[in-house]
Symmetry: C2
Subunit: 620 residues, 2 copies
């Protein structure tokens, strides 16, 4: 059972300067741009089923998922802000997708048109179930946004067909997808339809993973050492560490959390807690990114977090989704801390402020020696990729931003992230006034009279918080689970004021993270800062930070109004010319000032080198 | 034209304590152990051609190359030290290999037995030409060691058959191997047979690489972005940087150097010089290792040299072979400096002192966060690998150690590396007495009377050298191309004494190498030092070196007599318990002494963490 639920998008809204502009830009720029890309590349026309061998724009195995995520984003965006034009466009595309469904319920533009004989033949690589899952999520969002059942019914037919192919009966396939996604989508389908067979199918897919004999080995000839890449090295009830392809992994863990909430499977919940701890305590970048190597875009081993690692946008967003589920399941403070860490850093870094360029990989450092293997790992954001999962993830992620700021309990409203905005709880509107994340002074105003418990999370990064209710100091109030909590009859005009001390902090990493040894990062409140070459006298690689530096706030030209840059002190290292690759000359150091900007906003003012981890100029 | 030649193995020998024991161990341990592995895994029986589908020990596409390299090693070892048992064993194996040759000349156990229909169908991956090349090298060595032509004739027949399949005629394939090797082997075949058709075939393979249309693309459907992995992104005459799979690359560059020497192709020589500069000035580890990522085991971009990179043993040895050719072609000092750097560090680190365990990857650091992806990237040396190119490379590399110490000119003998040993030049024996690489005092004694030019390389790392001839100080002698040179009638009993100052040096890397920023390494003479956990109070990852430390020599128990460890000063960093992955606590530092051992000898006394690059404890 979930202890909390995420708010419906109609219950909450944002008014802040950090998150809200991204959400607004999604409707204006990100979604239209993704639709245009889907149209130009053939992803939309693929659903017309008119492609024939030899023609251009041959559908690809993952194309349907891209367009499905855009459709889901359109539906969610409609829940945030009505838009008749967008609604009409969505309706048209939904009809197009429905029109491609086959008589047996199958719906996949690649396997209908390109390789019909290969349907369900190569689950390890072929993404049919992954695409089906994203179409289900889109259909659920469409139903929630419009109340229309046509798309939902279409995907229920598809799910019913899939349930004839896969399952425990002797004649059925015992396989599961090589790329998870359908499992969590089937849980959503169950939630909106109440049809237990969808939950059963989700459970079948999750539980058939990693069984002996292993379907991927016996039916598809997959080598044993590849099994962890797809989280199939052992049954999920025995998985305790995060393994393999990071996006696939967190999608699986989302489904495990969903299942445990709906079936009461306590072991699965324990595994989720263990895996989440393994990720966040040993396998996550400071920015909330995950994935330690481009080889299979995967988790590797504890503390292996190279500075030029592989923090894919989709993986950060997926970890945020998993973390949100764990918040809802447990209500524990640790989850909200990490959710905030991902949200304000490694997730939003993936999209440009203009909303139409994307990182596939969110690096923590770029230098001369940053290896760009093709477009995917490019140092600059790109409008689209041949494998374009990341841009389309933003379409559906950004409309949900407000929902991450609040948790709804049975008779409790909890403010998780005090970004300016508001939430409606029963008859009460709770308004948050703040300049968060740049300022720790928060004013929470209640409109309407209602008895309920109001909780306010004190972020884990905050060491000094004061709070008052209607001017009365309540700083000595006991915290429960990281929150200040009041149960009372809230009155129209009640004001809770919260003051979160937000000093600049110098952060170090566990010594076992070899890439970070001798380096420090700058953090203030929830924001991790980055040093860009264009703000500084030198490539960040030649800068050393004075960890005892005093800091000054500074407006940064070219970044949104209100953005606080941080100016501190350090040194610039230089070497005699022509030293060669390795040398015994002694470097020179010159005192310089260093300007840092929020990591989530880097690379929005032109290309230059960047570093999150600067060398500690004081040595030992 | 080569300006110098490598000495024949019968012309030189070693008596030192660093290289010679490896060579001796090769005959006693390394070769017998490799033969046993080849027998146990089926690599030898494969040549009996009795494998049938369904049987165990199915031949693999690269098996023949492994056994060929062992045979080459056996032959070369016989040139170093006569051994009747070894000679008889070699003869038996050579007969077995010859017996597997097909009537048309084809000789490949995989494509004869497992997939006969696939012969020459997939050059990009299938290694037929690579295996053929190693068999040719083995046959040439066998001929040189025994004077027998049977193996050589067999491989000439094979080469003649290959020349009917590949070539410029309309009916011939225009392809080249996905893994280079046959090109340099054909040059050797040309050298011993004088048959120009083998040189022509080598030239055909080298020059057909990267042409338009690209064979790999048009005939085998290889994606364009994969072409650099096999050095086929453009014609070799237009290649200026080292690209792709590091072993394949250096084997190609060896062949380019060989061709330019034999055909007078000056452009090819210029390309070799440019590529070699690109490698050694921008893409090589301090230890002489190459390859920056396990993804395709490849070169990536300039200065991308991660601390947990991919310095494969075969790649270091291959770079040494390429460098030796460049020494011979140009006689320039820069080449000998790098050859020595590879030889004393990243090449010999690949094999245990006992001679029967091997690194596939020669890391410069191992920590908790060292990712071990299966056996290949293991932190400890292993007796064998499923892809066992590295162990068998040592079998054929170690017998050649003495030959790297000398260069033979028309009327000039050049001492490149003053390891104790001797060379025969015409009627003169030149004996080197030294404790090199641990001591810079070298005594060179001439036995016999002979007029010739004697040159003595002053290593690039040496800033202060003095020299005398028969007691007369000649330190003011002009160096030519990094060498001191005397042209005279050498007399029996002449003595040249050389004193190379060999202080401990603190080495830094170019700031563009981000993994090394803020770190220093320890070098003395040609030796790079490493810090192992078992010699020190802490995991090397928590140590900081005092770059101004004084140093003391120290015998190291468990390492060969004469090994000099270096003891200096530094600090050990420690942190409060339970800081978490990222934290703002301040570390504590405690003064400690630090013991370093030669990198080539690490991991010979049990498993512990290791680091070549230590943090600089003085900051800026």
């Amino acid at each position: 059972m979930f202890k909390y639920r995420s708010p419906r998008l109609s219950e909450v809204r944002l008014q802040d300067g950090f998150l809200f502009p991204r959400q607004r830009t999604n409707g204006k720029v990100t979604i239209p741009s993704a639709v245009r890309q889907c149209r130009d590349t053939g992803r939309i026309d693929a659903f017309r089923l008119q492609w024939r061998p030899g023609m251009a724009k041959q559908p690809h195995i993952y194309w349907d998922s891209d367009f499905a995520k855009v459709l889901e984003g359109m539906a969610l965006q409609l829940l945030v802000e009505p838009n008749a034009g967008l609604a009409a466009e969505l309706d048209e595309y939904v009809d197009l997708v429905i029109s491609a469904q086959q008589p047996d319920g199958f719906l996949n533009t690649y396997f209908i048109q390109v390789e019909p004989e290969k349907r369900w033949k190569k689950l390890i690589t072929d993404h049919e179930l992954y695409c089906a899952g994203h179409l289900m999520e889109a259909a659920v969002a469409h139903f929630q946004a419009t109340g229309q059942r046509k798309f939902l019914d279409c995907l229920c037919r598809y799910a019913d067909y899939i349930a004839t192919v896969f399952g425990p009966e002797p004649h059925q396939k015992k396989g599961c997808p090589g790329h998870e996604e359908i499992e969590l989508a089937l849980c959503k389908l169950y939630d909106v339809t109440g049809e237990k067979r969808y939950l059963d199918l989700a459970e079948f897919f999750v539980n058939s993973r990693g069984q002996t004999p292993n379907y991927f080995q016996t039916e598809e000839g997959v080598a044993e050492d590849y099994l962890p890449v797809v989280q199939a090295q052992r049954p999920v009830h025995e998985q305790r560490t995060a393994e393999g392809h990071a996006v696939r992994a967190v999608y699986l863990y989302c489904a495990m959390a969903d299942l445990s909430a709906r079936t009461g499977d306590a072991v699965l919940l324990t595994r989720c807690e263990e895996i989440w701890k393994n990720i966040t305590e040993k396998r996550m970048y400071l920015t909330g990114g995950i994935g330690s190597t481009p080889m299979n875009e995967r988790f590797t081993c504890d503390y292996h977090l190279p500075h030029d690692g592989y923090a894919e946008s989709c993986a950060s967003i997926g970890l945020l989704f998993f973390t949100r589920r764990m918040m809802n399941l447990t209500g524990k403070a640790c989850y909200a801390d990490v959710l905030e860490q991902i949200l304000y850093n490694g997730a939003l870094s993936g999209i440009s402020l203009e909303g139409d360029r994307f990182f596939y990989v969110n690096r923590l450092e770029t230098g001369v020696d940053t290896w760009e293997h093709g477009v995917t790992y490019a140092r600059e954001r790109r409008p689209w990729f041949s494998c374009s999962c990341c841009p389309t993830s933003f379409c559906r992620f950004l409309p949900q931003l407000a929902s991450f700021c609040w948790s709804y309990g049975q008779s409790e409203l909890r403010l998780e992230i005090p970004a300016a905005g508001q939430a409606t709880f029963r008859n009460c509107q709770v308004e948050v006034q703040s300049q968060y994340p740049y300022d720790g002074h928060i004013r929470i105003v209640f409109h309407g009279q209602e008895p309920f418990t109001f909780s306010c999370r004190i972020p884990g990064w905050c060491r000094n918080a004061s709070v008052s209710l209607n001017g009365q100091d309540l700083s000595s109030l006991q915290r429960q689970n990281g929150c200040l909590t009041w149960k009372r009859l809230w009155q129209d005009g009640d004001v809770v004021e919260l003051s979160l001390a937000m000093p600049v902090e110098i952060v170090r990493a566990d010594l076992r993270v070899s890439a970070c040894r001798g380096r420090v990062a700058i953090r203030r409140g929830p924001l991790v800062y980055a040093v860009e070459g264009l703000d500084n006298a030198a490539d960040p690689g030649s800068l050393l930070l004075d960890p005892e530096s005093a800091w000054q706030f500074e407006a940064v030209e070219g970044l949104p109004e209100g953005t606080l840059g941080l100016r501190g002190k350090g040194w610039k290292e230089s070497l005699p010319d022509d030293c060669g690759l390795y040398f015994s000359a002694t470097p020179q150091f010159e005192a310089v000032s260093i300007l840092a900007v929020p990591y989530a906003l880097w690379q929005n003012r032109g290309d230059s080198r960047m570093s999150v981890w600067l060398r500690n100029g004081k040595g030992c």
